[in-house]
Symmetry: C2
Subunit: 316 residues, 2 copies
């Protein structure tokens, strides 16, 4: 039985690393599998201004490194590996890592979500430094600046309205027509009327350009014609992709957006399988929330392991 790990965490972003600080500090055997970057989206974020505890902000990479160091300090085993399946048989969970089965008593799914991209030149290069996907995270860096927002759905319009509290002007770039709710469109209208927002329909971005490393222009296809706009930053809201491909066939329940449903202990509908952070239904896409949920999930995992030990030690 000793080759059954107490808990396997899938992903090594802020939520899993926080959970691992808790579990390993209590001598719960913990292995994390990461297929991309340890630290997740935090690691590729330029500056994190709102993670509580760092009054002047902290570089995303530095925060990620510190979370990793803290988890490792207490004994977290972080491995690179691609998880393709989770199955439950009796009391044991089997996780398929790089095609090989690994057994665990509990699993924490903390694979996060990715922002959908528009896949144009400049988008990846200036990620987090002029190209953004989270208005709550980065909007405040654009006080009295000019922005382009990409996306005409609910989130595109809602975040445009939100960004008006910072930006002096916003060009809203919409591929066809605005699809947002009537209420949001009516609210947007007041910012159009005041001239703070200009809507460009039938418009796609061809390229995001920068001078001396600072984003200053977007090239557009607008009604079939080339156009360009001077902006200080670009926010893209064209959807979110939860990283749940590994759950195909697992039976783990998702909500209508494809995020994982959990109870108030952060357990999914599968016994012993927990979820936290940006992949969880109700996620805020904030590092602070992901970390807090990681801590909560770790305590639930400990409780589950204790109860399980208790019930298996005591024949009914």
């Amino acid at each position: 039985m000793s080759d059954i790990t107490d808990t396997i965490m899938i992903g090594a972003g802020p939520s899993a690393l926080a959970a691992a600080v808790y579990t390993t500090r209590e001598d719960i055997g913990t292995v994390l599998y990461e297929k991309g970057v340890v630290g997740g989206l935090a690691a590729i974020t330029d500056q994190v201004d709102n993670y509580p505890g760092f009054p002047d902000g902290v570089e995303g990479m530095k925060l990620a490194e510190q979370l990793e160091a803290q988890a490792k300090r207490f004994g977290a085993d972080i491995q690179y590996g691609d998880v393709s399946a989770i199955t439950r048989d009796d009391d044991v969970l089997t996780v398929t890592v790089d095609g090989k089965p690994v057994q665990a008593k509990t699993v924490l799914i903390a694979t996060g979500s990715d922002y959908n991209k528009i896949n144009v030149p400049g988008e990846a290069e200036y990620y987090g430094r002029g190209v953004h996907y989270c208005a709550t995270c980065d909007g405040a860096f654009y006080r009295e600046k000019k922005l382009a927002v990409v996306g005409g759905g609910n989130s595109g319009v809602q975040e445009t309205i939100f960004l008006t509290r910072f930006a002096s002007h916003i060009d809203l770039l919409v591929r066809s027509t605005i699809k947002a709710s009537e209420v949001l469109q009516q609210e947007l209208q007041q910012y159009i009327d005041s001239g703070q927002v200009t809507v460009h329909l039938d418009t796609t971005v061809r390229e995001i350009q920068a001078t001396d490393g600072k984003v200053d222009r977007v090239l557009l296809d607008s009604n079939g014609e080339a156009n360009e706009l001077d902006v200080d930053g670009v926010f893209v809201f064209v959807g979110l992709k939860p990283n749940t491909q590994i759950l195909d066939g697992s039976g783990v329940e998702l909500d209508s957006m494809g995020l994982i449903k959990t109870d108030n202990k952060l357990m999914t509908n599968i016994e012993g399988v927990f979820a936290s952070g940006d992949v969880r239904s109700g996620a805020t896409m904030q590092i602070a929330s992901a970390v807090g949920e990681g801590a909560t999930a770790a305590l639930s995992i400990r409780e589950y392991l204790d109860e399980h030990k208790r019930s298996s030690a005591q024949p009914a």
Copy 2:
């Protein structure tokens, strides 16, 4: 209408300070009222080892100061004041501060919970430095050390079992008899049998003593006779007191433990009144969770304010 604050936060512990970082950064008018110590329990904790982001741990006071500085950086208004009531009339919430009414569109209750004390000499003096109330927080500081645990209820026995993973020996001090569940008592028995735990019934603590500032002894009344034990630390589990006195007459729903019930947006049953951190039903008594909930509550408050603005701007 301009004298109605966007959001009033009651308490200025980690959860409210984290929430205030979020709200103020988005120009949501935010006033915090604290009647005790800014930073809450964190501020009076010696060393915090498991707040994610600080790989070598951080002094509780320093973490509290940094949370306060960060909230103030974005414009949080932290005031000392004693809140005695919250009432709702139509769309406005009225909070009574030092006997005077203050109006707000939303309220966040983040007053925390206090650990019940045994009120003996030495308890307050060595708080966080030999006298502890949270095994998850501080148990790991006692690897291979001798502990006394006070309390014979479910939490006393459960935390004693938990602390056996760190401590070499535990004296469990119980005022009358053990009141914990049968299952917990049976599990405890194995540690009694192995000699790792010794139970002292009909025993109360008279004093906690230290040498050169280090706790090293507890003086007891045991079966009516004076006794003493050499220990490296004392954990007290005699209940938790949620700080909800201010809610008398407010109509805010509490759970059976007296903690505030919330929905998945952290709103209570009263429109516009939110709760986060240690005072919330489901609280883990962990700074990371309290901070994460603060961030989540702040986003819910923003959403509530936006929707409210929208609906009041649009007659049905």
